[in-house]
Subunit: 199 residues, 2 copies
């Protein structure tokens, strides 16, 4: 009974997500949101209560779709874990968009003072990524493509941190070649020991 909802929640959250990524929470006004999603303030407030509510829903959707999706495709599923880690990194830059929207987790973490309610969502997303790295590294160790004594837990945190740093550099407009250098270095440092018995 009653009128049917004319819009798709997932689509609206996707538009809002994109806007928040580009402009940040503070930088996206409700007028911007209205334009991006096509939703008028009434519908928006009926559903999400507030701008905050919409943002948290968008962050949740980002975790469930973007983050978990990328972790699955690049870190959990590939048969070659190291290649997966590499593609996880490289797929984070060179989107072609100008300026690069970066990562909603990274951007929100930095903006967190003004969006304290979002801290939990950010931490959850970061944990998902870290766990993905740990999974890939464990499998790589089993395959023998990384040293058997590699500290998986420590290396996962390391990769997560490096990844977040990359996303900062992306936002700073760093040339892609430099970002590739970072990716190469990351893999070199966890890959098979050099110096041991090279050629």
């Amino acid at each position: 009974m009653g009128r049917r909802q004319l819009w798709d929640r997932a689509e609206v959250l996707a538009s809002a997500m994109g806007l928040f990524r580009r402009r940040g929470y503070q930088g996206a006004s409700l007028r911007d949101i209205e334009e991006a999603t096509g939703l008028h303030p009434g519908s928006l407030y009926r559903t999400f209560q507030s701008k905050d509510g919409l943002f948290q829903a968008a962050l949740e959707a980002y975790n469930e779709q973007v983050v978990q999706g990328r972790v699955r495709v690049h870190l959990l599923e590939p048969t070659d874990p190291l290649a997966g880690i590499r593609s996880f990194f490289t797929s984070a830059f060179g989107t072609g968009l100008e300026p690069d929207p970066g990562c909603l987790l990274t951007n929100t973490a930095v903006e967190s003072f003004t969006v304290p309610q979002a801290a939990a969502g950010v931490r959850q997303g970061l944990e998902t990524i870290e766990a993905g790295f740990a999974d890939a590294l464990t499998r790589a160790r089993a395959l023998g493509t990384v040293p058997a004594d590699l500290d998986v837990e420590m290396t996962s945190v390391q990769l997560l941190t490096l990844y977040q740093g990359l996303l900062v550099l992306v936002r700073a407009g760093t040339p892609i070649t430099k970002l590739h250098t970072v990716t190469d270095g990351a893999l070199a440092s966890i890959g098979p020991r050099k110096r041991d018995s090279d050629e």
Copy 2:
């Protein structure tokens, strides 16, 4: 001739800097700035033209004082370069402030879409840090505390990226122990080769 300026430019920029670090460019209103600096809008606009102008002056001061100061103390001057790199990292977190203001460069890079004029200042600061790492690593190599074949340029970018990632985690409220783990890992990966002829 004329009345004397009652306020100290460096002091005002320091207060503004702190405010921008905590709240970001967008999150710091002119009323906030007025309260933090003690400067009324008239004086502020007479000197800095706009909120943008003040921000750019604050970012410049941040580069010249905070960034260059820390690079000098931790990366250029220490006789033990690796210990310097470690203290450069550890001094970036555990400030005791809640929430941690993080780094103005990191925060501004992420917010850059809405502050495009600041991009140059951000890049300059990042370059200063990278050059500092390069200097420390070169000296470490000369001292033999890192492998002779270490790629200084590549490792510097690596450290810069990791450092920026750390500052993101700091803002996300990551526990200090984890941040220390990252620091330890960074030094372990550039330090003397393990596995070669240990014990």
